[in-house]
């Protein structure tokens, strides 16, 4: 490990930390409908959109109406993206004359991007036309992020409001998130990326002659605009197959840092937005502190594990002709871009899996088994380590409810959180939201591990092969989208089962989250008393950390033991898969 490596990590943490408060304040003003710098510029567009859609912005919705609007919007999104992918061969902006996407792959891709997952069973540059990339993938990246933030805002309103039958208006929240938050940041980010060399063109792929005289096709396209929202939205689906490892997606150290900041910025800022809206910024800082500790543990473990290198190679090095007493100096560089190195790759992998973004700048399949286990664990804790915009915050708030419930059991009092009583309805909804993800992950992984179509996609045998399957379903249900690329997932079996996993991971979580919002909003605020658990103190940070780790471990440790843990033990003995 090097000081430059740690400096990269510290720099990212510092920038995100500095952005959290101003961005959080901006988010709070936007969703409260208050004046912002952009309102004079965008206000008329917003009003025109409401008129066009027949939306009355003042008309608020109950949680059930909000949920139905959310579901209808996403159903239409899946159908329209599916149609676009199937019909791309007869639509314009298809300079490479690509054929329509196969039905099962089109469904998988449509569900993937509408649910903010961005699992890709295809290579972008060889499968999707520019129309599909721009009007399909990019548009859904905006909308899925805006709808995720809308759900988080609705839940915050549930905590913040008193005796309110409504939790906001889904269409208004969706529009404001897109117009005031995502679009302005993406315009700036896309311009920065173009300035750094990321292509933004509708010209077809370039046909060039290599120095050896052979022909080569260099794919390009409207990359910068997609790249910006790919990162900001927590979506992560790359224009190119190799995602942010491709020099056209991530050409310089500055773009690498900017991409990491974009991934984390909104998720972190939403914690501050939460604090402001419930009347105590400290509550938001407490959540961010828990996220930061989990992040530090993950990135430290990853960096250390990858720097240590492959123990079997170290043994071979010592036994080899050089008889060197020192281990190989490079650590584990397999599957990593030399320009990013171990620190840059470990940091990106940690941010990507913790945030639920799923973008990659290195090959996760080439990480050491212990590192792969850390990446899996990041996703298995329900993307609460900053997470995607919106889903990270409401995931963390679900754990907060569990934490105060357990604390309440210990002292025999009805639990409270930020002034709201947590009763049996909220606990039922929380359990529903928390249990459907592991049920889908572990259930589908078990099925894929024993049926022929599941085994047919494996690139490796033994525990590593099992890890590939487990990673795929974990990534899908956590709406992450990254992959241990050893798995050949473009088959009807994987396309359909992964689509189901993404559907469960998004909608079966969000419905009970909105129900909690509705249930909390109608309650009065309970005044603090001596029996109130102080959730703005260090003790609560420790307690919440313990709950997240224990719930995660109890749920997933057996599955991890069968995959990365056993592989890690075997690799030291020279057993490879």
């Amino acid at each position: 490990m090097t000081s430059i490596g740690w400096l990269q990590i510290a720099l990212l943490a510092a920038i995100v930390g500095l952005l959290t408060r101003p961005l959080g304040g901006y988010l709070a003003r936007v969703y409260a409908g208050e004046h912002t710098l952009l309102r004079p510029l965008i206000g008329s567009v917003e009003a025109a959109l409401y008129r066009l859609a027949g939306v009355t912005p003042e008309a608020e919705q109950t949680w059930y109406q909000y949920t139905v609007s959310f579901l209808i919007f996403h159903a239409l999104g899946i159908v329209s993206l599916y149609a676009l992918l199937r019909l791309q061969s007869v639509l314009p902006l298809n300079p490479q004359d690509l054929t329509g996407v196969a039905p099962d792959l089109a469904l998988n891709t449509a569900v993937s991007f509408v649910t903010n997952t961005s699992w890709q069973s295809y290579g972008g540059e060889t499968t999707l036309s520019y129309a599909s990339q721009m009007a399909g993938i990019t548009v859904q990246s905006f909308l899925s992020a805006a709808s995720g933030i809308a759900v988080a805002i609705a839940l915050i309103r549930g905590f913040a409001r008193r005796r309110s039958p409504t939790i906001g208006n889904f269409w208004v929240d969706l529009t404001r998130g897109t117009l005031y938050v995502l679009l302005p940041i993406c315009v700036i980010a896309a311009l920065l990326l173009v300035a750094q060399g990321v292509p933004q063109t509708l010209a077809p792929s370039a046909e060039v002659t290599t120095p050896e005289g052979g022909p080569q096709t260099i794919a390009r396209g409207p990359v910068a605009t997609q790249e910006a929202i790919k990162l900001l939205s927590g979506d992560g689906g790359g224009f190119f197959n190799t995602n942010s490892a491709h020099p056209f997606e991530n050409p310089t150290p500055l773009t690498n840092l900017a991409e990491l900041v974009l991934i984390f910025a909104l998720g972190a800022a939403l914690t501050n937005c939460f604090g402001r809206m419930v009347g105590s910024e400290r509550q938001g800082w407490i959540l961010l502190t828990v996220m930061a500790i989990l992040f530090a543990l993950g990135v430290g473990g990853l960096y250390s594990s990858e720097t240590g290198g492959n123990p079997a190679l170290a043994s071979a090095w010592r036994a080899g002709p050089t008889k060197s007493a020192q281990p190989p100096p490079a650590g584990n560089m397999e599957g990593k871009e030399v320009r990013f190195g171990i620190a840059g790759s470990a940091l990106f992998a940690e941010v990507s899996t913790a945030s639920s973004d799923g973008a990659v700048n290195s090959m996760h399949d080439s990480f050491l088994p212990l590192s792969g286990g850390i990446l899996l664990a990041n996703m298995m804790v329900d993307e609460v380590i900053v997470g995607a915009p919106g889903s990270g915050l409401f995931g963390m708030l679900l754990f907060c409810i569990v934490a105060v419930f357990l604390a309440g059991l210990m002292v025999g009092r009805t639990p409270e959180y930020v002034g709201k009583k947590i009763g049996s309805p909220e606990i039922k909804m929380t359990i529903l939201a928390l249990i459907c993800v592991p049920a889908a992950t572990l259930g589908l992984s078990a099925v894929a591990s024993v049926v022929e179509p599941g085994l047919a996609g494996l690139g490796n045998a033994g525990p590593h092969g099992y890890s590939e399957i487990l990673y795929a379903y974990t990534s899908a249900t956590a709406t992450n989208g990254s992959a241990l690329a050893g798995l050949s997932a473009n088959s009807p079996f994987y396309n359909l089962t992964l689509a189901l996993a993404m559907f469960v991971g998004r909608f079966l979580v969000i419905v009970p989250v909105l129900a909690i919002a509705g249930s909390l909003a109608v309650q009065p605020v309970v005044p603090r008393s001596q029996g109130t658990l102080p959730t703005e103190r260090v003790l609560y940070v420790c307690f919440l950390l313990g709950v997240i780790v224990i719930v995660g471990a109890l749920t997933y440790l057996p599955a991890l033991a069968l995959g990365p843990i056993i592989e890690s033990l075997q690799i030291a003995g020279g057993v490879f898969y």
Partner: protein
Amino acid sequence: MLDLAMLALVVVCFALAKAYAGLCDDLLARPAGEDIAP
């Protein structure tokens, strides 16, 4: 034909999700006299 099957799958999944929302609505109903401990 496959397109219709995929479309039907989407419709069924969202119908189930809406039913799930209805189930949540039922579960939210607080039983009369439910404890609110001190």
